[in-house]
């Protein structure tokens, strides 16, 4: 990695403390584990991304440009499974969270460093098993594994893929557990709850979901596996089981999982906006508590995935009402970020562009969520491309923008080097434009009624699909650029110094890259988070 530097090697830091494959694979340093995760999820992102590219090329033609329907089904299942479980869910928590949580609380490491390394190994075991099963042979159930299709009717690698996801779930659980204990027990002297950076609040909220949601997915996948092997009948109507119970258990985790993806991104944005506006966050406690509120309420709304599934009408009404409740904390965040800009001193370096892009795309994605929470409108757009567009706005427009913004912001801290800001801004702009060109047409084609997961579709939807595919090519270019200049910067980038952005926070008070123990001595916190301009007042 960043070894042949100009003057980075003049002192010992976590990257040059020791060398060799073994020093990485057996490390218990949270910073190195973060880098292991970063490499792994980048790999999974590329695999999922290739699937996405193939999907979009295929959909240029109404009759399917390249694949048989069976192959196409495996492709979108692979895209969904890899992207959801092996890229989006670990993206910010496992990479930025691992790197930053101990530094932000002012600790030498997470509470359980060995457990942290174990989580990475568990993640890789699950990831590679799933990758094997979705690439060689494939799975064609979609990432949702709906029964009885997955248990009885398809003849593909459901078992091994589900088992891989099951294993990876334990990685999430252990990571969440580590964060919760670290945030509770390892805060530096003076780091009270209300002095914590908002990133920690959102990681804490995310960990709640990891801890309380993931085990339900785990047991559900166990039941699916037993059902598939033994046909025991828990989800099988032939024995009196109910396939809808599977959907309840599945969405009990998988809806909050959406917030696993987007909450940390919100945390990142809450760091970036104050830094580049040189302003304290507007309404700190509202932003902090809205993270926790989102985590809690996210567990009460899963039934909105099932309005038309045969779930009772009354349950549908209850879930609809609860779903609207998520809109409130999300709105609080967006308004507070916007208000933070007021009378600030705003600079437009690359991370800030990603943050502003996040706000825009998350606003659009979040507001279209209202359509899906509304029973009558959901009746029309459920399972159409409208839904596809909505969750890509949240997961890609939201979570991936947040992830990239965070990577760009903390890159100098992680590697000690700066990337070319001009290229980074260009990439941010291309991603924003490409993203909208890809997914906005999908809202329209969705309201026109095009169902999702269609390998072959009626010709009347072609215009919008071609537009979407064209946008996707721009988006792909946008994602390729950072990959190039970030790798370039690891060797050739200018040396960043401890705090290139003039940001506040404990992680900026230590050299870049930080020493293995993070701090020379444990810092004592005396000021609020985001104390921009505090000295003057």
């Amino acid at each position: 990695m960043a070894t042949a530097g100009e003057n980075l090697d003049t002192r010992v830091h976590y990257l040059n403390a020791n060398y060799g494959i073994k020093s990485w694979l057996l490390t218990t340093d949270h910073k190195r584990i973060a880098i292991l995760y970063m490499a792994s999820i980048t790999f999974f992102f590329l695999v999922g991304g290739i699937a996405a590219v193939l999907i979009r090329i295929h959909l240029i033609e109404p009759n399917g440009a390249i694949f048989e329907p069976a192959t196409y089904n495996k492709l979108f299942s692979m895209h969904g499974i890899i992207m959801v479980f092996f890229f989006l869910i670990p993206s910010i928590p496992a990479v930025l969270g691992n790197f930053l949580v101990p530094m932000m609380v002012g600790a030498r490491d997470l509470a359980f460093p060995k457990l942290n390394l174990l989580s990475w190994y568990i993640f890789m075991t699950g990831g590679l098993l799933t990758l094997y099963s979705v690439v060689w042979g494939g799975v064609d159930t979609g990432w949702t594994f709906y029964t009885p299709l997955s248990t009885t009717y398809v003849n593909t690698n459901v078992l091994s893929a589900a088992f891989g996801v099951f294993i990876a779930g334990f990685s999430s659980i252990l990571t969440g557990l580590n964060f919760v204990v670290t945030i509770h027990k390892m805060r530096a002297p003076g780091m009270t709850w209300f002095r914590m950076p908002l990133f920690l609040w959102s990681i804490y909220a995310t960990s709640i979901i990891f801890i309380l949601g993931t085990p339900v997915l785990a047991i559900t996948l166990v039941l699916v596996a037993l059902e598939r092997i033994f046909h025991v009948g828990i989800f099988d109507p032939a024995v009196g089981g109910d396939p809808i119970l599977f959907q309840h258990l599945f969405w009990f985790y998988s809806h909050p999982a959406v917030y696993i993806m987007v909450l940390p991104a919100m945390g990142v944005v809450s760091e970036l906006i104050p830094c580049f506006a040189r302003k304290r966050i507007f309404g700190y406690s509202f932003v902090a508590f809205s993270s926790v509120a989102i985590a809690v309420v996210s567990f009460l709304v899963w039934g909105h995935h099932m309005f038309l599934s045969g779930q009772s009408v009354y349950a549908g009404i209850i879930f609809s009402a609860l779903s609207f409740a998520v809109a409130i904390p999300s709105a609080i965040k967006v308004f507070n970020w916007t208000a933070t800009l007021y009378k600030g001193s705003i600079s437009f370096q690359a991370p800030m562009l990603y943050a502003l892009g996040f706000i825009g795309l998350f606003t659009m994605g979040g507001l279209t969520g209202l359509f899906l929470a509304t029973l009558a409108v959901d009746t029309h757009v459920h399972d159409t491309y409208f839904v596809v567009a909505h969750f890509h706005y949240i997961m890609v427009g939201g979570a991936v923008m947040g992830y990239l913004g965070g990577i760009h912001f903390w890159w100098p801290k992680i590697t000690g080097r700066l990337y070319p800001d001009g290229w980074a801004r260009l990439a941010a702009a291309i991603i924003f434009i490409g993203f909208n060109l890809t997914f906005f047409p999908q809202y329209m084609v969705g309201y026109l009624g095009m169902p999702r997961r269609y390998a072959i579709y009626p010709p009347k939807f072609q215009v919008l699909n071609v537009m979407s595919s064209a946008g996707a090519s721009i988006l792909a270019v946008g994602y390729a650029i950072p990959l190039v200049y970030l790798i370039w910067s690891m060797r050739y980038g200018p040396v960043a110094g401890p705090n290139p952005w003039g940001a506040k926070g404990l992680e900026w008070e230590t050299p870049s890259p930080p020493p293995t123990e993070n701090f020379e001595e444990i810092p004592v916190v005396t000021e609020e988070a985001y104390a921009y301009g505090a000295k003057e007042v």
């Binding site: 329907p69 089904n73 064609d140 009885p148 009717y153 109507p237 009196g240 109910d242 396939p243 040189r278 304290r280 507007f282 406690s285 509202f286 309005f307 038309l308 009408v313 009404i317 609809s320 009402a321 809109a327 409130i328 709105a331 609080i332 967006v334 507070n336 916007t338 208000a339 800009l341 007021y342 600030g344 705003i346 437009f348 825009g360 659009m364 507001l367 209202l370 359509f371 929470a373 509304t374 029973l375 009558a376 409108v377 009746t379 029309h380 459920h382 399972d383 159409t384 026109l448 169902p451 999702r452 997961r453 269609y454 390998a455 579709y457 215009v463 921009y532 301009g533 003057e536 007042v537």
Partner: protein, 313 residues
Amino acid sequence: MWQGFQIRPDQASTIAQGVDYLYYFLTAIDLFFTAVIFLTIVYFALRYRRRSEQDQPKQIEGSLPLEIAWILIPLGICVVVFLWGTSLFIRNSRPPAASTEIFVVGKQWMWKLQHPEGVEEINELHVPVNQPIKLTMTSEDVIHDFSVPAFRVKKDVVPGMYTTLWFQATKTGRFDLYCDQYCGTNHSLMRGEVIVMEPTEYEQWLSGGIRGGTMAQSGAKLYDQMACITCHGTGKGPSLTGIYGKPVKLSDGKTVVADDAYLRESVLYPSAKIVEGYRPIMPTFKGQVTEEQLLQLIAYIKSLSSQEGKASK
């Protein structure tokens, strides 16, 4: 290329317009807030851009009135949208009594539809215009989803249970029918058309299509073939005349209504609910009758009730 470019599908049912109005309202809210956020950000970004590296802006901690405002305003909007959407949904959940009932069986990867007169169709559904149509649906294998965008209706078709959906077409013509729940390899080919006709045309079409008698007649034939009468007509088993829609007392003291789901269960799993005063001697017919035949049997049992009703009047 842009000719005939639409932002919404045809409005071809009584509820389509209502759904579209709500959709427009939501779109307006969406655009309004997106515009507010975008314009504010752009304005702030320009107005407060960093002019010198030494800028030290004055700090603002927050504002309680503002926070309350942007909690209450979205909350108010949400309540309105929730009530509006829910009232429409409830209306769309309960079919009118006067509906014509059509049976739908989904299987990988086709739709099988049966009219009460006995006409069977595959992937095409002919219905009269301006009449409420109720679909009673089930699946032979995996979960499917019956969706007609032009009618703004959609409902999952689930194995092992009956789901219902109703609509009243307001326009004649051909409208797309999709399976919206991913159901395996040829999911994207599980499509069809709903053909809405003038009532007279529909009658004509129906009379041309009758082959095997009405649903109830086919059911009666099955009833004969499977020798149901040896028990249900002799007192060994409970009589089926006039039970449809009536409460039935069970051996465990509970009471159930003899509806479609109960009758289906009783054919497939006779021992699940034993009628009071009878022994559990009925064999299961699971695997011997298809979902369509089940629907025919139910139609026959239903017809036994209506005949009785007429007779008693």
